[in-house]
Symmetry: D2
Subunit: 346 residues, 4 copies
């Protein structure tokens, strides 16, 4: 029987995988047990953010050395979903998901899948939606999740597609996952709806895109029989970028106090915080004008990550928050979602 | 007997003073009653932020037209303290402080003062400290505050001093005010201590510097006899950039609920939110590395304002937060302070 | 008989019009003689560049004080075309065009025109093209230019139109001017061609757009009978961003040596340098990849202005070059144009 | 007898070494013959530029695979000097220096050396100057250059040293090389002179610093007996950032025409263009104010590289120019230097 374990590790720079190397050397993490990595690197999060590629290369070289498998093969079976941009109080880190032997009735499960190689520019369309939906179904099956209602979160990373296509690719990956989960009906989940039909969204899909991947990569987390218990995961939609209540609710649903923040003694139980959010396209938040979308100097998503990430970090008491912009169709428009995974009390 | 009134107004761009023009035209704000303006414009907050000068010019031209007084004279008696940078969820706005007829035993008072013209580069030294201390004493007297313990907050704006001197000027203005308040002993409040002696600070001084002012400008807020009641002001130190508890405490001390945020019905009572904060020079916050101080693309203070401003805005439920970086000697090192002014319940 | 005179003036910051104030005070420039101002301010050149509005306001207040005319009226008859962004070696400056009494057969003439107020978003379409074409025809007539072949350059400034519309507005203004000049046939100069039909362009239109204008503003320069001689103007297309030969050719055609640069003794004869250029949309220049269009940290037009402006400044021996990005339909695709106005040898 | 050969290769992104891989696979470049790599990657060139580390890692992994030597050992004997930042028209590329069998009397020679590991922060002082001077002497001996007058250029890369130390490290590396070459007298080449004594400089040292190196790395190029002829190298000081004449002079001294640019037929003979330059600290160039040093949005060195790089690229007719900022003590103050290596006519 499998047991999912999460290790949240810091990095000194985007090429630094020494914390994981130490865990492997110390026998705490068997290299072969690693199923996925989700992380936050300190680039700009845009088209010319190469910190993600640098980290992926460093990670795969480490695992190649430890497992004897070729780096290219490892990159083809272990999703490495990275979001660039640690604006403000955010701290560069990565979460290593391992599958080892465990025992129990039911628990948090992981499943992964890779789509086929993507031709340049073949994103933001029906083809990407279908491709990602297939990959999500494969990942759900891989996790052994019997009921789609038991899926907590789907994390998707798609190829960037080229200049001007980044947000379309994110939207296409999202819609594909939403389709597979049944959160958006099949007749609506079509190319022309991307970035337009803001009423169509899933509150449990987190998607991004980057130049460093050439195939759609999917990680599914949810409850499945046969997996060991011990981890609690909660996801909550954020109504807007100031939705402090939703953030607290996610922590509480994951079994932690949040009044207003997680008490210091409980903070070591936090295993992962994953969030998505979006600059409100109406150009205002609760009636007050924001300036994120008209700034020529700082990218709108960098503004957004810095703001929403800080609110979540303030509740967590910890800057290691995976928060990614470009949240079209992921949670309510102008808002997003926040997920927390915590170890149950000993 | 005087009554202090605050109007918090939005701007569509840094040259937009139409909201104030309307209040004057409607007879709600007599132009002659304006004592000070504190605002947040949408520039970069740095040496080449000209949104502050643009707003000041627009404001003084409006008041010149309404009062018949020359714009230059108005600029010499009405402090206009602006902070550039509305990163993330922050919203451009300005707070107009007026003094009109009122009645009551004691209440929130305002006092202002201007220092003499400053020679280029004459900041960040003993001369600036002495100059600002004198101006603060004059402003305290102007407000009629009898006891220095009754000073809630001193807001200082000093000339930028030139390339490389901006943060020294902020520190010098802070130290001058801290000296006048007795928060730092006279023998310690010296030029060489600036930016070095992080143990020296006042939890009730908010200072900034900019190219658009040529003299030190001071606004003092505090309780004084003879001023009408009706406003409640509270200031709290922030221990670090994640100090959500301090933010809530300031709102509560100003008479508002904050559990976790100010209820919608109480939000109209918020008159002003003024904050200072600083990227932690240890390069980490609560043990986690931050990347604000090593980013070549985004200025550290822009990172900081976006993060701390978002936490405060999330509690206020409103992006109109005056938050300014460069908080050396203003609140604890790596932290800062947050002030809230609210109308008492009707 | 009229005489066109140009004064190229420096500014210490975007609110500084003191150099012009001095010329007026000294009787060198009669305030009433000013027909147009073209300048380069030190903002970011994007949607949130407020240095242009700040300069315009400062200029119109100065002229209002000197002429007794209202600032709003002056702004409605004196085009003030500003381009933000003095990247690299570029130097903030403005060129004042005056019309005074002169004598001669024929010489460089100026004509100006303003279009009607523009509804928000009404740019980048057939309506803007027609509007600007009408304004250009009016400005040509105003200058007394008899033959369209004698038009040297049309400078257009249009309203920005809102987020995402800036480049469309620039393209629409350009196409309107190209239509009026006969450089693009009427049946091709249509909304759908904007930013798409890169084969359609005029080598003598320079257009920009900004939030600080609410009407299309046009300045036409060319040769007309009845204007005094003394100035020589030349315009040359740039084939790409490295077209050093075109830059030298423009200086030479304006009567200056350029081997490789303008000799120091001739530099005072330079009256204005106006240029437009564009990041090559093929993502490469002469077969080598450039990175301007995929940079999340620096706007592509800022990259471009810094590069092309430096090449022109190196030939001029002087950083006061008006160079503006967003050159769609202005000169060859991936290139642009450069214009030089110089005083004839004494 | 050795022959120095240079290959100038493009990269599609900072992890792309495929062009070199192809040359190795095709037998054109024996992997074991590589002595040094100098390149330009598309990061921001600052403290948080990780494109350099990414490229180095990719290069060393490629060479490890091809030679069987460990990547760490290769990195300890092959200097890989990278400058981040391809602003404007600059194109990402790298120059591979190989040493193979040749024949001839005398020719362009290469020598390399590495200093000892550097303790954090141990830069910008006497220790670094001495360390780098030793490494330069070792590299000169390695090249077999008999007379210091025959050294054309010394390229130094030093550890960044930490926040605030970057420019001090560049200055220290420069001064060490200038000391070894005899271009600055020993009694002047001291820590306190760094960044202060602008009169002390060498016109043939190019230095940089970065977080991706932990030891001083040195490459020396110059004429030595026993090396094969065929390459011509010229270095010229630039008096300021607009020194177009110096740029042309360097190309001409390397045997190419430059009137005003290198003719297309001669461009394939260009093997490398290496330049250093610096924003003028007087805040003006030839009497006109520049804004590079007061811009909060774009780093001054990015401004500078975009401008000077464009002027050189316009003469070369090619964007593959290695231009690096932070040129203190490298060429005249406010200026810099430009070096060209070209193949002799067949």
């Amino acid at each position: 029987m499998p047991r999912l374990t999460l290790h949240r590790l810091s990095m000194a720079h985007p090429g630094d995988v020494s914390a994981l190397a130490t865990l492997i050397a110390d026998g705490i993490v068997p290299a072969a047990s690693i199923r996925a990595v989700i992380g936050k690197t300190e680039g700009n999060g845009g088209l010319n953010d190469f910190t993600r590629g640098f980290f992926s290369q460093s990670l795969m070289h480490l695992l190649a050395r430890e497992t004897g498998e070729a780096a290219e093969e490892l990159a083809g079976r272990i999703p490495c979903v990275l979001s660039g941009g640690t604006e403000g109080v955010l701290s560069p880190h990565y979460i290593v998901f391992t599958e080892e032997e465990g025992a129990g009735e039911a628990g948090l499960a992981i499943g992964t899948a890779f789509g086929p190689p993507v031709a340049p520019g073949d994103v933001g369309n029906d083809a990407q939606i279908a491709r990602v939906a297939d990959a999500v179904r494969a990942a759900v099956a891989d996790a052994g999740i019997a009921d789609l209602a038991d899926v907590a979160l789907v994390q998707v990373k798609s190829p960037a597609g080229g200049p001007g296509l980044l947000l379309h690719s994110v939207a296409g990956g999202t819609m594909g996952a939403a389709l597979a989960l049944g959160d958006v009906p099949a007749e609506e989940a079509r190319g022309p709806a991307l970035l337009e039909r803001t009423d169509l969204f899933s509150p449990r899909v987190s998607a991004s895109a980057g130049v460093e991947v050439t195939r759609d990569e999917v990680v599914v987390l949810g409850t499945a029989r046969g997996w060991a218990p011990g981890l609690r995961m909660a996801v909550r939609p954020m109504a807007d970028a100031l939705d402090l209540r939703a953030v607290q609710a996610a922590f509480r649903a994951a079994g932690l106090e949040a009044d207003p923040d997680v008490p210091e003694a409980q903070r070591p139980r936090i295993r992962a915080i994953l969030a998505k959010a979006e600059p409100d396209r109406s150009l205002s938040i609760r009636g007050q004008r924001h300036t994120m979308l008209g700034d020529t100097d700082i990218d709108a998503q960098r503004h957004l990550r810095g703001a929403v990430g800080a609110i979540i970090a303030a509740v967590a008491g910890d800057g290691r928050v995976f928060v990614s912009g470009g949240a079209a169709h992921q949670g309510p428009p102008g808002g997003g979602l926040v997920a927390v995974i915590a170890a149950e009390e000993a």
